[in-house]
């Protein structure tokens, strides 16, 4: 196990290097000269040269890449070009609001979708199952934007059940006052595909021979579903969950934007708007790292729930 983790961590080095190289090439050849962006409208040759020197742009490409490598190794991506704040500081202040929304959404959505999926899988073919399938298909066919706009208009503006948007410094206020509507809308969007997927996982497991054995033992249907089938059906569920975890940190782009939540998603959009390269670079690297680490974590969790998995 230890040897496996070590080997996997070691394998991340070339992957990360590849991501860095790609980022570097993209920013240098596609991104244009950042000194023009920084200097604003009233630039002179002097200011430009000055900025280029500060950014290290007057050095050779390999040297510039080395600077980037150093930034990644120290996780210090310098200063934001638009706000002049240190990038680390900006990201640290953004992660909180993102998680305030994304974490409850993930937990509630996981719990609800697994329970609903298990129930409709058990009564598959019945009217309940068909109605749930129909609702899921309808829900999946409507764009997330429609839910957000309709929700803000009807539930918040017309009925006044929720604030239209906003954010405060108090976690409790955020959780009880500002989060519910985006949370609700986020659930509507994410539940439908999850229920469909988990339902098929359950149904596949229910057809296996060991379920027949469990019945022949005299176990109740409930024990069979919750103990025997659940543990096996969880294996693909965990995969899809682990794959979605890195996005926790990216935040929900649309929801944050529309509800004025100052999270990562909002920051990404702002940074792209302002061509704030240090912030974009930092976020890209962090997301790449998170993806790799959660993939490793997913493989280890597999091993825990499925003894057949061999870590090689």
């Amino acid at each position: 196990m230890f040897a496996y983790i070590l080997r996997r961590l070691w394998q991340m080095v070339p992957t990360l290097f590849g991501v860095m190289l790609l980022l570097f090439v993209l920013f240098n050849w596609v991104g244009g000269d950042p000194s023009y962006i920084l200097a604003g409208k009233s630039f002179s040759a002097d200011t430009l040269a000055n900025i280029r020197h500060q950014l290290g742009l007057d050095q050779s490409l390999p040297q510039q890449f080395l600077i980037f490598v150093r930034q990644v190794l120290t996780l210090d991506f310098g200063i934001s070009w638009s706000t002049q704040q240190p990038v680390a500081e900006i990201l640290a202040s953004r992660i909180g609001p993102s998680l305030t929304l994304a974490l409850p959404m993930l937990l509630v959505s996981l719990l609800l979708s697994v329970i609903i999926a298990a129930i409709v899988a058990y009564v598959r073919g019945s009217l309940t199952d068909r109605i749930v399938t129909l609702i899921c298909t309808l829900a999946m066919s409507v764009s997330a934007l429609v839910y957000i706009i309709a929700g803000q208009y009807w539930l918040a503006h017309k009925l006044g059940w929720f604030p239209i948007l906003g954010w405060s410094d108090s976690l409790a206020t955020n959780l009880w006052y500002y989060i519910p509507l985006p949370l609700l809308l986020g659930l509507v969007v994410s539940l439908a595909p999850d229920i469909r997927f988990y339902r098929s996982c359950f149904i596949e497991e229910m057809g296996h021979d060991y379920v027949r054995t469990a019945r022949a033992k005299g176990l109740s249907e409930r024990t069979i579903m919750l103990k025997h089938v659940m543990r096996n059906a969880l294996i693909p569920v965990v995969t899809s969950l682990m794959m979605s975890l890195p996005y926790l940190f990216l935040g929900a782009l649309l929801l944050e934007r529309f509800f004025g939540i100052p999270g990562m998603g909002n920051e990404v959009l702002n940074a792209v708007d302002r061509s704030d390269f240090p912030v974009i670079k930092a976020i890209t690297i962090y997301v790449a790292l998170a993806t790799m680490l959660f993939n490793l974590l997913a493989d280890i969790v597999y091993k825990l729930i499925d003894p057949r998995v061999q870590l090689k």
């Binding site: 040897a3 070590l6 080997r7 073919g125 296996h208 021979d209 060991y210 027949r212 054995t213 469990a214 019945r215 022949a216 033992k217 005299g218 176990l219 109740s220 025997h228 543990r231 096996n232 729930i305 499925d306 003894p307 057949r308 090689k312």
Partner: protein, 569 residues
Amino acid sequence: MTPLSPLLSVRNLGVSFRMESGEHFQALKGISFDIAANRTVALVGESGSGKSVTAMAIMRLLPDHHTTIAAGSEILFEGRKLLQADRHTLRALRGRDIAMIFQDPMSSLNPVFTVGDQIIETLMLHTGMRRKAARQRAIALLQEVGLPEPGRKVDAYPHQLSGGQQQRVMIAMAIACEPKLLIADEPTTALDVTIQQQILQLLAQLQKKHGMAVLFITHDLGLVGEFADEVIVMRHGEIREHGPLQQVFSQPQDAYTKALLNCRPQLDSRPARLAVIDDFLQDQPYQPPPQRARGYVPGDDIVLDVQGLCKSFESREGLFGKRVFHAVKDVSFQLARGKTLGIVGESGSGKTTVGLTLMRLHQASAGRALFNGQDILAMSPREFHACKRRIQIIFQNPYASLNPRFTVEEILLEPMVLHGIGHSHAERKQLAMALLERVGLPSRALQKYPHEFSGGQRQRIAIARCLTMKPDVLICDESVSALDVSVQAQVLNLLQDLQDECGLSYLFISHDLSVVKHISDQVMVMQQGQVVEQANADTLYAHPQHPYTRQLLAAIPQGWPHPGGVALA
């Protein structure tokens, strides 16, 4: 309950299923039989005979929503009406009074729980034992069913055990609560012959020790003789014959029973053609065909000469470690033109790897394979392409080895196009139709998909696909193992006819020694990747030299009391 009343009594049981098309399929057409306490009753029949449906009906495990039990059906267990019993009563009965073991132990055990947990679960459910006591009992049970190191294996997961060990675990689980009736549904079909024999002996021994009644379900009449008291022969949802063991074997009344007894290849007789069911169902009495002589003779033309074939697989271990597994070690043999070389061995003996390596589906690690004098293992992929069509393979599972999205026409035409056989589409189609007819399928089969055929028919399609390429060598890898005995006889007859007609050479890989004896001229016995013995078929079976060969031969279920000759009387 008086001593005379049976433990289980099935009366007029009729079961039908609603198919997806909406039609009803009658799986059981009103069958009746009794099982007395402490007796072993064998239920014998081919696929679709309704034998498993009977078992599932007794356990009340048939899926409710598309099963209809005919009015007037009755199942009595110790006088209780099972068909009317509520869920609660049934749950208490299952696992405690009636237990069941299934065909495939690997898939019948839950892969994510330890075998101990799965036995403990049954014990705690029905006996109210505490976990600790149940664990001790589970270890004792594993000991009783002959699992080595039960104290350690109790914490093993199913995949860490061999097939035979898994079936022992299933048996331990079934006898955990001392059931009065044990239903064993094809308990040895997925196992090697030597393991099969051990499991049958274990079941017989446990039956005596615990005084259980056993309902033993099998497709193989040969197994029944080992320990059944009574035999029930089923076909198409009906009971064809029911009687004491000796009577059914020595004086079978029903034509179908006679056919079943005869279509299985025997060790002491090699008819030119195996009997098939139809031979017995027509009016005139069956005339056994003459015997066929077999064996390589000096001067045979050698089509395939394999010398020192090796194949090893590598797997990673630890940080830098590597483990090498030798699947095939220094195997040499010669295949004569128009003859059959049988390869026998248990799972893991490397017999399949030999076949796949010769097809170059695996890269050989060492050795030569001279095909008409040229080493096919040393050829470049381009050179080999020309030889490819001349060595073909038929796999074991006819359900998985045909592409389900292709029609039979596409399946047959694709290899012809690939190898440039036939000049036009029309010509190829003509050839495909001729081949279909040759393997006994109508030409309208061309437009159908594989799922529309039975297992035996699919294996015929697979044979026809190989024949499209006009091969010289056909590798049959357990090609008849998944088939019913009667269908197996038909396919074996077909293979024999094709060999006689086209001079094909077969490499016949199988775990079934009777089948290999029937079809082979030369036989090679493999164990753990090595050839332990190789000789003319008759010599090898009459005078086995190696202890492993003798062990294999001793494990063949003999039937009783000698079906071959007697049934013809």
